[in-house]
Point group: C2
Chain length 261, copies 2
């Protein structure tokens, strides 16, 4: 199983601390040795880093850990391959352009027998994850010629995702740089940090950060991860089937998928 | 004016040496301080690095210079902004997916009054360069539902590009990972290195490499750049209006655009 990490913040914020924790699970203490990737939005621009080699030994991952790239929306993924070989083309996050925005997507889980209809967006690699992403974009592009309201958008995403639930595990993160859509079907946790900020201690690494020294009183920063990344904070768990749309560190829409049995 | 750098090789080859030469022009000895980017294909996978800060002082650029990423098709660009502000979204190379391949594109020049018809591919940033890229993809996607033969592909690209010539300067590089299409309307040079390999000396930096030590007798590596990057080798110049399609380090198709006056 792969691991996901996402961030939604109301000010450009770096993800070095959380990334350092996740990296250790990328082939060192965890089994996720089959590549990793991260997508940072900067305005409408998108900066992606991918590597098909293990995260913990990647020169590029070391750069990300040390070089504070500031973003309001981040999606990160470390991979343990099940469907699709180990290759750059199969490494999340996947990206496409729709309605003059770059969209980024990462997924953990696998779906049995998922073969969506063809459309203008088609997978480059051979993961079911990338097929899900293309299916979501094909559906959105066929229904709307311009960005719909957020409630319509999440309604459409929910309708697309509900039939996937009986097929397997489908925890996912999707962003267009303005919001971060997250869906949990088995495991996903989140924490929102805001004033008064305090210290946080990583679970997997002797590393502590005092967020007070890196923030202002108005900052709101939410981190979403497969497993809680810190040992001294209270993370909240998504329910299976629950989705949340994050914007500027806050939940703006949330709901529960109706499963189709 | 921006500078372009491309590579086509028959074996995965790193571009560290040429990149080191180009980097010095990115805001240090040259005026191209408004960002830079590079796209490396690895199989069908595409690895991109972008930065809106000057290349010569970028931590990411230093990584690329020192970390040998091997690829058969590379497109690199350093930017001096004219149309479109300095931002990540305006930084080349631009990428899109078409027919289950990632396509990468970079451009140098500017076109006056270029407003192509809308289509499924639309620009995220506000450069005329990205609009040209979307125009090429929209034309290809509307004419073919699957990859055409290379002669048909280049014929279509030529027909798309010919009307651009009277609008301004349009040197460009386009790849789908299997080939590298290049068009020169004002300035572009190339060199093909093959056995017997010898030493090469950068023009802009005290750096020499002996390619004999890094190659086998069968390697064929072509580097294409706005200006020759080395001082002790004979580079060849494209003619204005000339295009070449490179594959595995060799020209497989070439032609001259008929200008529409």
């Amino acid at each position: 199983m792969c691991e996901l990490l996402g961030m939604s913040a109301n000010v450009p914020t770096d993800i070095c601390f959380s990334f350092a924790g996740l990296m250790r699970r990328g082939g060192e203490i965890g089994p996720h040795k089959d590549g990793w990737g991260v997508a940072f939005y900067e305005g409408k621009g998108l900066r992606c880093f991918h590597d098909a080699s293990p995260c913990h030994s990647s020169a590029i991952a070391r750069l990300i850990e040390q070089y504070p790239i500031k973003s309001e929306n981040v999606i990160c993924h470390i991979r343990q391959a099940n469907v699709g070989g180990v290759s750059l083309a199969n490494t999340h996050p996947f990206t496409r352009e729709l309605w003059s925005h770059y969209w980024a997507f990462a997924h953990n889980g696998q779906l049995a027998g998922f073969h969506p209809a063809a459309g203008p967006y088609s997978a480059v690699g051979d993961t079911d994850s990338e097929r899900i992403f293309c299916h979501l974009l094909n559906t959105l592009a066929s229904r709307y010629s311009a960005p719909p309201r957020l409630d319509e958008l999440t309604q459409t995403l929910s309708e697309c995702c509900a039939p996937l639930l009986p097929l397997g595990v489908c925890n996912l993160m999707l962003s267009n740089g303005e919001w971060l859509f997250t869906l949990c079907t088995s495991k996903l946790h989140w924490i929102t940090r805001r004033a008064p900020f305090g210290p946080a201690q990583l679970s997997d690494l002797e590393l502590e950060v005092d967020f007070k020294q890196h923030t202002t009183a108005n900052d709101i920063v939410t981190v979403i991860a497969t497993e809680p990344l810190t040992s001294n904070e209270q993370w909240e768990a998504y329910q299976p089937g629950e989705w949340m749309l994050w914007q500027k560190g806050e939940i703006v829409l949330r709901g529960l998928l109706l499963t189709v049995q």
